[in-house]
């Protein structure tokens, strides 16, 4: 099911949770709403589910306005951050809940309910725990019960609020992979909220970056990572070097030397140059000074575990992180304390905020 969101606004008292948000969710995609807390991502999710009402704007499912459809009639699967499992019901009864509360005319026979719940529990690999209570389960198991319960009503859209937020790192990674496979099998339009950029980039088909109740950028993980719309996205996605420089006459300069940058340069004044660690190019320092248009830096620390080597460099008092392959590192024969020349393959520049 496709979802269209048009100019949705929502305020809580004096706080603007959503300030006119528009978004098209494509049928069958897995979409991430990514942003810091207070960016409005959860509010947007709750408005889609019908748990909150927009002050203005509209949300339509496959072209049909949802304003008059109460949450219980929207056929939306919602997985809550803390799962909200019914603690007095067994796992089985939790999953069966959505089927059992259907109106008599639509309610499947008890035998069909048992079969369907059995299938769902098998799918989330929890058949052996059907008669347990939620308090007897681990966090990852509760998460899967919540998912099976949401899927029991055969929703047209699956909404997940910080689905992995309350889990430890190992379980989180496993469950992430598992959810991706599940989505590929079922093709339900799915939207999940997260503040973890790694999670969004790894799991989603498209990422929506939000801040202060606005959508800043929408794109595939590669687009968002490679061409961030602004300095906020750059900062939020993380893993980036921020170097203080200046813009003079349409040229970004670091220590007086011009930096080749992608995209717009902006007005004259103090600026921040953003460079990803793997876009930093290192070379052996020549004996006689720094080559034209390059910088000189000293290796201050070196982490060479795994296929990629991470180097901390000191560039005229600034900390600079660089990543390169282990092979390249051994070619360069760099070690802590040695000097090298630095260049940037791709960089972006944004005016500095005061």
């Amino acid at each position: 099911m496709a979802i269209e969101i048009r100019n949705v606004e929502k305020t809580f008292g004096a706080f603007t949770a959503l300030g006119g948000v528009s978004l098209d969710v494509r049928s069958g995609e897995l979409l991430a709403l990514l942003g810091p807390s207070g960016s409005g991502k959860t509010t947007l999710l709750r408005i889609i589910a019908g748990l909150d009402h927009a002050d203005a704007g509209e949300v339509s499912f496959d072209g049909q306005d949802t304003r008059d459809r109460a949450a219980r009639d929207r056929k939306v699967g919602f997985v809550f951050q803390h799962y909200a499992l019914f603690r007095h019901m067994t796992v089985f009864d939790n999953v069966a809940f959505g089927l059992r509360v259907k109106k008599k005319a639509e309610r499947p026979a008890e035998m069909d309910i048992r079969r369907r719940v059995g299938q769902l529990l098998e799918m989330v690999q929890l058949s052996h725990l059907a008669s347990r209570y939620p308090s007897q389960l681990s966090g990852g198991q509760r998460q899967r019960v919540a998912l099976a319960r949401a899927l029991a009503i055969e929703p047209k859209v699956l909404l997940l609020d910080e689905p992995f937020g309350a889990l430890d790192a190992k379980v989180r990674k496993d469950l992430r992979k598992w959810l991706r496979h599940l989505h590929d099998d079922m093709h339900i339009t799915s939207i999940f909220v997260t503040h973890d950029q790694e999670e969004a980039l790894e799991l989603a088909d498209r990422v929506v970056v939000m801040n202060h109740g606005q959508i800043i950028q929408v794109g595939t993980p590669a687009e968002v990572y490679d061409t961030p719309a602004d300095s906020f996205v750059f900062d939020f996605l993380g893993g980036v070097n921020r170097l203080n420089g200046v813009i003079e006459g349409g040229v970004a300069r670091l220590d007086g030397k011009a930096v080749r940058v992608d995209g717009e340069v902006g007005p004259n004044g103090p600026a921040v140059i953003y460079v990803r660690p793997h876009q930093v190019e290192l070379d052996v320092a020549p004996g006689d000074g720094v080559p034209e248009g390059k910088w000189s830096a000293r290796v201050s620390s070196l982490h060479a575990a795994g296929p990629v080597a991470r180097l901390e460099l000191d560039l005229a008092g600034r900390a600079l992180e660089a990543q390169l392959s282990r092979d390249r590192l051994s070619d360069l024969a760099l070690d802590v304390g040695s000097w090298c020349t630095v260049d940037f393959r791709h960089a972006r520049v944004f005016p500095a905020k005061n």
Binding site: R72, K75, F80, A84, F86, R87, H88, F97, V101, S135
Partner: protein, 285 residues
């Protein structure tokens, strides 16, 4: 004094002397102020033998008082059960204007002296009260009659259920209800299948406390009842009358029955807690 390496004393806590002293003090206090009076009630009731005790209880006025007390509790407790659940539901799950006012009103019966509560009803519904003449013209008597006793009891026992439930429901939040609604449950289904099971233990405590107070209430009921023997006397009022007439055995016989009802209530609570300890613990998680 050097520390004894073999001491099993925990790092946090007091020495054995302090501990014994504290426990002893608590037991002494309980014995003096709770157990002793309770024992006195039963020993006084049985002072002239079991026959006299039974005679005090089976006196027609005593039987009528027992019946009235049970009737009043049977009306007041369900009323406050419904009100308490409705009020705590509203306060814990919704935001609305006047919420703090409602909270304050629920506490009113706790903060106002029961005698005043009784007087308010007299002022409203008594012969010289605001609605008195109208009620008299329509042949309805509230003050010095059973309806007055019921109303005063309802007023005094107002907060018990709500006070028990509000913190519980506030702590549980609304996520469970939201989950139920998204899954397609109606409002009533959500209440019956999700909210009610989540609060059942708190609700039970509230009802037990409410019941104990409904049967034991003296002040407010005393003002509105008029002490008409065999008609508007509840058990506590009957005890007082008998006592003032120096009929100690009968007074304590009725009092012992009242105390027994309270003990049964407490025992019921303890048994339920013991029997369903797992569920209660699970519900709190």
């Amino acid at each position: 004094m050097p520390a004894d390496p073999h001491s099993r004393r925990p790092a946090v806590g007091e020495g054995p002397v302090t501990r014994l002293a504290l426990i002893g003090l608590a037991i002494l206090f309980l014995a003096a102020f709770l157990a002793l009076p309770l024992a006195a009630v039963f020993s006084q009731a049985l002072a002239k033998g079991f026959g006299a005790f039974l005679k005090g209880l089976t006196d027609p006025d005593a039987l009528s008082a027992i019946q009235l007390t049970l009737t009043v509790a049977a009306i007041a407790v369900p009323l406050n059960l419904v009100f308490g659940v409705a009020a705590s539901w509203a306060i814990a799950k919704f935001n609305f204007r006047g919420k703090s006012l409602l909270l304050a009103l629920i506490d009113l019966p706790f903060s106002v002296s029961p005698v005043i509560s009784g007087l308010v009803y007299v002022l409203l519904f008594g012969l010289h009260g605001s609605f008195g003449p109208w009620l008299r013209d329509h042949g309805v008597q509230i003050i010095f009659a059973v309806p007055g006793v019921v109303m005063a009891t309802v007023f005094v026992t107002f907060p018990f259920v709500a006070r028990e439930l509000i913190p519980l429901m506030q702590e549980q939040g609304v996520e469970d209800e939201e989950a139920a609604i998204v899954l397609g449950a109606s409002g009533w289904q959500t209440f019956r299948l999700v909210t009610l099971p989540n609060i059942r233990w708190g609700l039970l405590y509230g009802v037990l406390l409410c019941n104990a107070r409904a049967m034991g209430e003296f002040g407010a009921v005393s003002v509105v009842s008029g002490h008409i023997r065999g008609k508007t006397n509840t058990m506590p009022l009957h005890v007082e009358i008998l006592y003032n007439e120096y009929n100690f055995v009968a007074a304590f016989a009725v009092a012992s029955l009242l105390a027994l009802l309270a003990l049964v209530t407490l025992a019921a609570k303890a048994i339920l807690e013991w029997r369903f300890a797992d569920q209660i613990a699970a519900a709190k998680r």
